[in-house]
Symmetry: C2
Subunit: 235 residues, 2 copies
């Protein structure tokens, strides 16, 4: 199955973007009448036939449109401070997309070492991971949000903040309620500051551990993502 991404799917025909056309026609060497799949990343998957294999604007005709249900009955939001090494953050984005998450919120904390990133580049990493894992749901990555703004924002569901100082008994897996929408905050390399944890608690966030190990930021994000997906699979 060859999966391509097109943000908008309307009508009976889809013209792929320049990047996707290039990948389809030049890299994959697909041509007229070849069958490809195109998703809008919002649960629509179209089985399509190539009608004009143009490497800048490949035209296709939809044969069948399929509604793909969301992967979980609940929504998983991971608010995470991007790592100093952007490579480690990109790795997190790839894995979170593969394993399954709905929204990634880059978090600006007091100890955050990285305070900028190339949004377009990160979106490309997520799109590539979605295509690779043949998903039809694209995780959203938002612009940077300050810690204070985020914790004060309304969120209906389970609210957690991962901290290294929490006893192992209070782990995410034990406290998260299966089927609930969830937001979890993951701190920067130097962890959250104490007053940040306090502010989160005052706004209804529960401090949790992610197990017995001292984890890097991107690993903590990954473990949170795995834990929520697993709990939702268990009987």
């Amino acid at each position: 199955m060859q999966l391509f991404y097109n943000k908008f799917i309307e009508g009976r025909n889809i013209t792929l973007s320049r990047d996707e056309s290039n990948h389809c026609v030049r890299v994959m060497r697909l041509s007229t009448d070849d069958i490809i799949y195109i998703t809008n990343g919002k649960g629509t998957l179209c089985k399509s036939r190539i009608t004009k294999p143009d490497k800048n604007a490949c035209e296709t005709e939809i044969i069948e449109a399929i509604d793909v249900p969301p992967e979980r009955d609940c929504s998983l939001h991971i608010a995470i401070s991007p790592t100093k090494s952007i490579e480690r953050f990109e790795w997190f984005l790839e894995k979170a997309t593969e394993i399954g998450t709905d929204r990634i919120i880059p978090l600006l904390c007091k100890n955050s070492e990285r305070r900028t990133f190339n949004e377009e580049r990160l979106k490309r990493v997520i799109i590539a991971a979605m295509k690779q894992s043949l998903k039809s749901w694209l995780p959203e990555i938002t612009p940077f949000v300050s810690f204070e703004n985020l914790v004060k924002k309304k969120f209906i569901g389970n609210k957690f903040i991962a901290t290294a100082n929490e006893p192992h008994g209070n782990n995410l897996g034990s406290l998260y309620q299966k089927g609930s929408d969830i937001i979890i905050l993951i701190g920067p390399e130097g962890d959250f500051q104490k007053d940040e944890v306090k502010l989160a608690q005052n706004n209804g966030f529960i401090p949790v551990s992610l197990g017995k190990s001292r984890l890097r930021t991107e690993t903590a994000g990954l473990v949170a993502c795995c834990d929520v997906n697993l709990i939702n699979l268990l009987h």
Copy 2:
């Protein structure tokens, strides 16, 4: 806490290896009377004092030796086909060490694209991850083992083989028994061949899924590692 690795700890003094001495004296600029921690990766952690800060052979004296208990009551073995991209496999090793695993067995399957690796380099990745996450237990990485030899080898505990074709209901998290020693087989980029799955089943391995997503090899290994650690944390 500055953690260093020394394979052998005997007597009252430890002389660090060339690599570790260089890191201690030249990179970290530690000197006489500075306190460092040294582990043998087998559960012994020594609080030590630098007596001779030589960048080729740093000498230390043990102040206190601490026995660090294993992270789990049970043993986790992940047998995994190394990925074509060695970088992806190194990521897996780093993360499996951080999150916690006991033995990694590079698996040679029919579809394996990578059939060699630099054992010393991979060991260094694991040692670095152990030090970074301040652990005193070093995961073992074995030489390559052929699929056939591995599945026929005796293993007392839960035995699983992860395959993409298994229904999501039969997932690792639901079938693994908390507290049991476990070995799980993770296939190469092209997955296991059907006769390999059959051979594993004939030798007592249970086919499992790792959730609803189509995962890359290294991601599958990570999810298995997370799942077993989480199940052992749950009440």
